[in-house]
Subunit: 296 residues, 4 copies
């Protein structure tokens, strides 16, 4: 879930309400806040806690709530996890610490120290392009032995890596949940056994990703191909506006603003699209059949 | 296709004959020599030419023959392409020059100069982990306008990239062939519209990859999942022996030697597996149901 | 300055006192806390503030105190800067945000927004191996126009980059301070005009680095070569124990513990050296003529 | 030395003659052909041999001639080394093979196999940004035990790496020659004990680099600072025109053409500067006090 902001240290509260309702109405099976798409590392600790508190109240147990606790500080990750538990979240999600370049044995030890301190089940979050550090498949196998680790979300974009995890875990931990990050890979991942996906585009059009998941889980190949094509239309039109690597996130937030769902304000180091890019997003939304909201 | 060697500058000629027959008997739709799995950059120019000549005679038109001409020297790429055409090859395959870090406009110009000099149709070969340089999706779209470029083999491992190429080319160049490199991705790529795969494992067990391709092309989801699982068994057992990134290639050549198909000699900077790793490969082959040949 | 810890969320207070006195006694011209060597990103926000408060009291104005405020959250960087100002620090030091991969224009805008919020002069901190993002020389030239930015510490290790900064800034901003990070480069950087260095080894043997700086600033080439050789002895013996990239920091903290100055506890994702590596550090310290303290 | 070309497969023979005389007249202590600045990997094998033959005749023993033999093929490296020896070269220079990502033990074995096949003394060439593979300091120490390896040219740009090599080799192999690649580092490297530099700018203004070397070797700090400043003027003005990473080489060749020394033709994947960039180079040359030749 994106984090609706009205300023760098202020939530867009009405936008948050609309967004949560929009997503749940689309039939999603869970909500993940404070991930990369939620700009978590760019948000102050106070705001992070406020977001967890408000979202938890809004979700009100209708679907599971997962909270990202990735931080370079072990202590601050634990503090946020405790806050999430107190506010009723169902699980926490953690990427490796992303400043110092740790090695795999250091990562194993880090997670080994962390898990006993956590009051909620943990999903690992593999995001090497941002953290510089991947969970090696063998590391995941070792960590999967720890009680309390229930799954992994892989945003590496490498299905070779993903299939290797499936291969290694299928015998030892068939209950270990494997989610794929990039929505462009949702169809094939679920067709070949993934537990699901964590799709940024589900902020925009949750029903589409739910449908794709269900078609893939049911092995309906033709329907998967058709829905995958629609995901690629969103990806190819909304996320490709602008020049910087941040354009995926800027395009997504801009589209949500154009649809009247929530503000497109972004925390530093990013900023929202200017008029020129916004025009392109509006044009793409029209072409894709979205109805623009009042805020546009 | 791997390059069977009896020394760093000598082909294993009987092995080459056995390998070509083994692969064609497995039903493959084409043979690609002098790619990465063929250790092309490690082979001297003389040996490269001998390999093309001998393979062409052995294949004798039964399936199309594709020849890798990747080289840091434009001139030497063209010379090899001419040799390939004279010896009856059907197409050439080219990765970006891999020493100097060129940019996309330089890459477009490079290919633009090269194509008119080539006597055969050209496949692009995207292999960024070895060449440091990817064909950007927008670059491929531009190059696809050139007559003579007929497709692309993507060994990036990124299905996000691959789907983006499909999305961009589907309207303009629906005939543009898109092949996936890593065999772990063959099933899903073809299920979602890829033209096929270029699978190293097809040296070992060509029928399996042909079957997987055909199941995926026919949209037989259950059969794809089953055959994909068998591909992952090979990948997870044969290609994971040893420590270096080169272990995929060492494992593959070792397995071919154990099966009595061809020698496992490797050109520098690599060397064949020693006894310890060979034992593990033999054990894995047994577990996977292969019958070991006389050479083992 | 390293951060003496007695636990992952607790300062080694007596060690901190000894360390500050040791460093000041060595004649340093300033103290920088909460940098990479200070493990800043691994420390919780509460501990960071406590460290600033205690160090400021201990330094008591004898030398300038610089405080690192690098954070992925703009808001939390500003909060820490305000705390530093209230506690009497003299300047703040900031590396680019290190989670999202921002581009240079985004970086310029980020710093442009940040500087007006800061109550103290700002040093930029170039540390691309940890932040994934370098301050391009042209970016530094643009930022140097902003009032409030007084210098840059370069830990890239590239003297080509450093000389390029000197070349570009010498005419426009001859007062802009350029410090070099890696102590192995202190001699040559100052010989060729750098303002100074920020040397981790000065925790261990501050006088040596002060002497090297002064010899270089005076152009005493022979003395520079001799002192540089001693720096290389420390670097080559203390920082090369162990296997991970973290060994520099582990070796440094271990040596400080062996000398009885402060604890070698490290915050996750790192841990202090075990007995085997500690033995090697002790041996190296002996060879280098250090007297081991009671704590060893 | 750059390679003067009149086409992608043709030497600019008169330019080559002028260039060799220009460089020798500047007082250089040796000439290195077929390095990165010589565009070696972009040249066909035939042209490489012609260049060695012609250059050797032109140099005629007045200074030592070093020939780059870097190639991804072991066999072709040896063939070129033999050719160089037959034509009277004095040593060969080799970077690691640059296609397959080898590991350090593979690299050690590769060089161990190669050295006995070489008819001339070998310099190692560290160029990780182009080859993806660095000679680890410990690898250099091991290789330095092999008879026939006489030194290393480091183009990593990291003086930390360079000083580490000096530190490790000074006791075991004080005769092992260490040259620095980037000319911006020549002064400091030689001040702190390097054997010399291999400077691209010496194609343009050989005397300047010879003077800088001699001042540094004599420990004349003020003169080093002054000459270093002039090197930075060339680097900052001639090598920074244009946008791509190739601009250093394009700027250098363009300047040589403007000075009437040799053609600026470049082998693919690069091309010579167009009119706009050429104007900037001419302007910079004027500002730096060069007299433009007839060819400009």
């Amino acid at each position: 879930m994106v984090t609706p902001l009205s300023g760098r240290d202020a939530l867009d509260v009405p936008g948050l309400e609309r967004l949560v309702e929009h997503i749940i109405a689309g039939g999603v099976h869970g909500i993940f806040v404070l991930g990369s798409t939620g700009e978590a590392p760019s948000l102050g600790h106070r705001l992070q806690k406020e977001l967890v508190e408000r979202t938890s109240k809004l979700v009100a147990g209708r679907v599971p709530l997962l909270v990202g606790i990735s931080d370079t500080s072990f202590t601050d990750s634990v503090t946020l996890a405790q806050h999430a538990a107190e506010r009723g979240a169902d699980a926490v999600v953690l990427a490796p610490p992303y400043y110092f370049p740790a090695d795999q044995p250091e990562l194993v030890e880090y997670i080994g120290h962390l898990v006993p301190e956590l009051p909620l089940p943990l999903f690992l979050y593999n995001m090497p392009s941002f953290t510089k550090l991947s969970f090696d498949p063998e590391t995941v196998v070792r960590l999967a032995e720890l009680p309390g680790i229930v799954g992994l979300k892989d945003s590496s974009g490498s299905m070779t890596y993903f299939h290797r995890l499936q291969f290694l875990l299928s015998k030892e931990r068939p209950d270990f949940a494997l989610f794929v990050g990039p929505e462009e890979l949702l169809g094939e991942a679920v067709l070949l056994g993934a537990s699901g996906g964590v799709c940024g585009g589900a902020n925009l059009k949750p029903q589409l990703y739910v449908d794709l998941y269900e078609a893939a889980a049911a092995g309906e190949h033709d329907r998967v191909a058709e829905l995958h094509e629609r995901v690629m239309q969103i990806s190819g039109n909304i996320y490709q506006v602008g020049r910087h690597p941040s354009r995926y996130l800027k395009g997504l937030k801009c589209a949500l603003d154009c649809l009247g769902i929530c503000s497109d304000f972004m925390a530093e180091p990013f900023h929202k699209f200017r008029a020129e890019e916004r025009e392109k997003v509006i044009e793409a939304l029209g072409k894709l059949g979205f109805s623009l909201g009042e805020r546009a």
